[in-house]
């Protein structure tokens, strides 16, 4: 693999810094009678290089937690810390930059633009970052090679199979060379064989490049492969096993 992340540096950092932490985070939706607590006083720390599974029943608050960790939403109370800094204090443009350059996202629904080519889809984060067209194409082909999709680069995203789509989504998450990949039910839409292949790619990235994984899942097998399992029940953290 030719990706530029300096895994030695990331691993060294892992020993000392919490790359991301949730401190007494509560999230409520709605007002008055309709008020609903989706997350209740959740605290945990994640070190760089860990692979964390967030598990729990449907509706327990896993996605809500992941959105908060990924700084796409703000907690009602409590704080999210990124590398020891309060994310709530970050300005809008710093947040945008952090999400663009430090985070990668993989979703259960792929969110690919079906009419655009696979390559176009993959380089979207680089386009947003303002990378020039030649450099981003080159980088796009690199990550497509990593997920073994380089021969599909020019195909329309619509023409891919489910497993190929999810690999394209992983390539897109990788293209900005992130430190953390957030994945919400990455294998939820895939049969077990293709799901396995996608998992393999994710864990390979974790092991070879030290990319921190935060994976929301209710797939037991996937959860077992993670170095850590955080269990959520009715918005509360009820288990944290390594």
């Amino acid at each position: 693999m030719t990706i530029t992340t300096d895994s030695a540096k990331v691993k060294a950092m892992a020993a000392t810094t919490n790359i991301i932490a949730s401190e007494r985070v509560t999230k409520t939706y709605g007002k008055g009678e309709n008020r609903f607590t989706a997350l209740d006083n959740v605290s945990f720390k994640v070190k760089a290089g860990e692979s964390v599974a967030i598990i729990g029943k449907s509706g327990s608050g896993k996605s809500t937690l992941m959105h908060l960790l990924a700084l796409m939403d703000k907690p009602t109370s409590g704080t999210i810390m990124i590398e020891g800094n309060d994310a709530g204090q970050l300005s809008g443009s710093k947040l945008d930059k952090l999400r663009n350059q430090t985070f990668g996202f993989v979703f259960q629904q792929f969110f690919l633009n079906g009419n655009a080519s696979v390559l176009e889809n993959v380089i979207l984060p680089l386009k947003i970052a303002g990378v020039g067209s030649r450099a981003r194409k080159q980088r796009g082909m690199e990550v497509l090679r990593d997920v073994e999709l380089e021969d599909k680069a020019k195909n329309k995203a619509n023409d891919l199979s489910g497993g190929q789509k999810q690999r394209a989504v992983i390539a897109r998450a990788l293209v900005n060379d992130p430190q953390i990949i957030f994945a919400d039910e990455p294998t939820g839409n895939l049969d077990s064989a293709t799901g396995k292949k996608v998992e393999d790619i994710l864990f390979k990235l974790n092991q070879e490049k030290g990319i921190t994984l935060i994976i929301v899942t209710h797939d037991e097998d996937l959860a077992k492969r993670c170095s850590r399992r955080i269990q959520i029940k009715d918005g509360k953290l009820v288990g944290d096993k390594r």
Binding site: M72, D73, L95, D96, K127
Partner: protein, 429 residues
């Protein structure tokens, strides 16, 4: 995101739903076409009128009349009878005050007035050319250094002591000339009859042939020396007081005078009891009628555009709705709200751009076709008239206006897209 990427993304987005985009562009196109055509007609006619204005007279002349006239529809109340004020009756039984020799002296004394030339109205019995046939004719004295639209020859030299005359093209063959060029330099005869009923013949040399026009023209134009000769012959036997009565006088001022200097002269003459108007003033009414009509036509164009702009709002709201997830994803990936706003409002501006470009191009094609048809047929009697004119500045203004309207129409959908919350968008089914 780089500007170039925003531009290309906006244009690919625009083409994603081709049918919907095309329909919106057609709506804009209709508005643009209407607006460009009405503007084109406006520009075409007013440039023609400006050229015709040149036929009427120069811009260093004021037409001075006595102020207390009851003519026209502008008077507030009838003026009291003044036994000292001489009047003359004109055609339709209007009676109006005339200028006397004393008035002429007063006008000449006005600061800024270089020279006064009382109008000595001449009505010849007929004009005759080399073939001897006699034709009715009206005569106008050359007003200053008029810029005539000439088919042949030169303008009159008003300082010349020779009798000079310009005839309209319509007289060329009747008087016995082969063509306009052949008439130049040839003599023609004007006949006048005096108070005793005696008819005298006066010869002048044709110096030019005037193009047919919408205003002015139709009669012959003669220089001052010829006019004086005819006037003197025509007024033989009249008492001196009658002879020295003029409907109006021409007051010359410095051609380099500024508008405010001309206004000062006008004000001075007004306080002396005269009205003074430049040729442009007198034609102003005509022009404002034309621009009124153009204004109404423009209003139709604007209404069409307003309707079209709701089309833009609708189209873009639909695509914001359709692309909810995509917008959410881009925002999740760190695209800032301002860029999202730009992405959608640029798409609106592009729709406006294409609609207006197609509208302008089609309008120009229609304009050229209409001009070539009309100048051969309906309006062939008005050479030099270009029905539709499209100065680049006007076209650019129309396009900018439409793109501006499109931008405004795009702001609501663009704002909706920009303030979208990434999670809501990602959860959106």
């Amino acid at each position: 995101m780089r500007l170039i990427d925003i531009l290309t993304t906006a244009s690919t987005n625009m083409l994603r739903s081709k049918l919907r985009t095309s329909l919106t562009i057609i709506a804009i196109f209709v508005g643009a076409l209407t607006l460009t055509l009405t503007n084109g007609i406006g520009a075409g006619i007013s440039s023609y009128v400006d050229r015709q204005l040149g036929n009427l007279g120069a811009n260093d002349v004021l037409i001075v009349q006595v102020a207390d006239q009851n003519t026209g529809i502008s008077s507030d109340a009838p003026k009291a009878y003044d036994p000292n004020r001489k009047t003359t009756t004109s055609g339709a039984g209007f009676s109006r005050a005339v200028l006397t020799q004393a008035d002429i002296t007063k006008i000449a004394a006005q600061p800024g007035v270089i020279k006064v030339q009382p109008e000595q109205s001449v009505s010849p019995d007929y004009i005759a050319g080399p073939n001897g046939s006699k034709y009715q004719v009206t005569v106008s004295q050359n007003i200053g250094a008029a810029h005539l639209d000439l088919a042949a020859g030169n303008n009159i030299n008003d300082a010349s002591t020779q009798n000079q005359i310009i005839i309209p093209v319509s007289y060329v063959s009747s008087l016995g000339f082969a063509d306009a060029g052949a008439a130049v330099g040839k003599p023609v005869t004007l006949a006048v009859t005096d108070a005793f009923g005696l008819t005298t013949l006066h010869t002048g040399t044709i110096v030019g042939v005037q193009q047919k026009g919408l205003i002015g023209g139709g009669g012959v134009i003669i220089n001052t020396s010829f006019n004086n000769e005819l006037y003197n012959a025509q007024t033989v036997g009249l008492p001196i007081a009658t002879k020295q009565q003029y409907a109006y006088a021409l007051a010359y001022f410095d051609p380099a005078a500024t508008t405010s200097q001309v206004d000062a002269i006008k004000a001075g003459l007004k306080s002396d009891g005269f009205t003074a108007q430049t040729v442009q003033d007198t034609i102003g009414v005509f022009k404002s009628v034309i621009s009124g009509i153009i204004g109404v036509l423009d209003a139709f164009g604007i209404i069409a555009l307003l309707a079209a702009s709701f089309g833009i709002v609708n189209t873009l709201l639909m695509s914001v709705q359709e692309r909810t997830k995509e917008i959410g994803l881009m925002k999740a990936m760190g695209m800032n709200s301002r860029r999202v706003f730009m992405l959608f409002s640029l798409e609106a501006v592009m729709i406006g751009f294409w609609g207006s470009l197609i509208g302008v191009v089609v309008a120009e094609i229609i304009g050229h076709l209409a001009d070539s048809i009309v100048s051969k047929g309906l309006l062939s009697g008005l050479p030099g008239l270009q029905l539709l004119a499209f100065p680049a500045a006007n076209v650019a203004k129309v396009m900018l206006l439409i793109m501006g309207i499109a931008f405004l129409a795009g702001t609501l959908p663009a704002w909706r897209a920009a303030r979208q919350n990434p999670i809501d968008a990602l959860r959106y089914e």
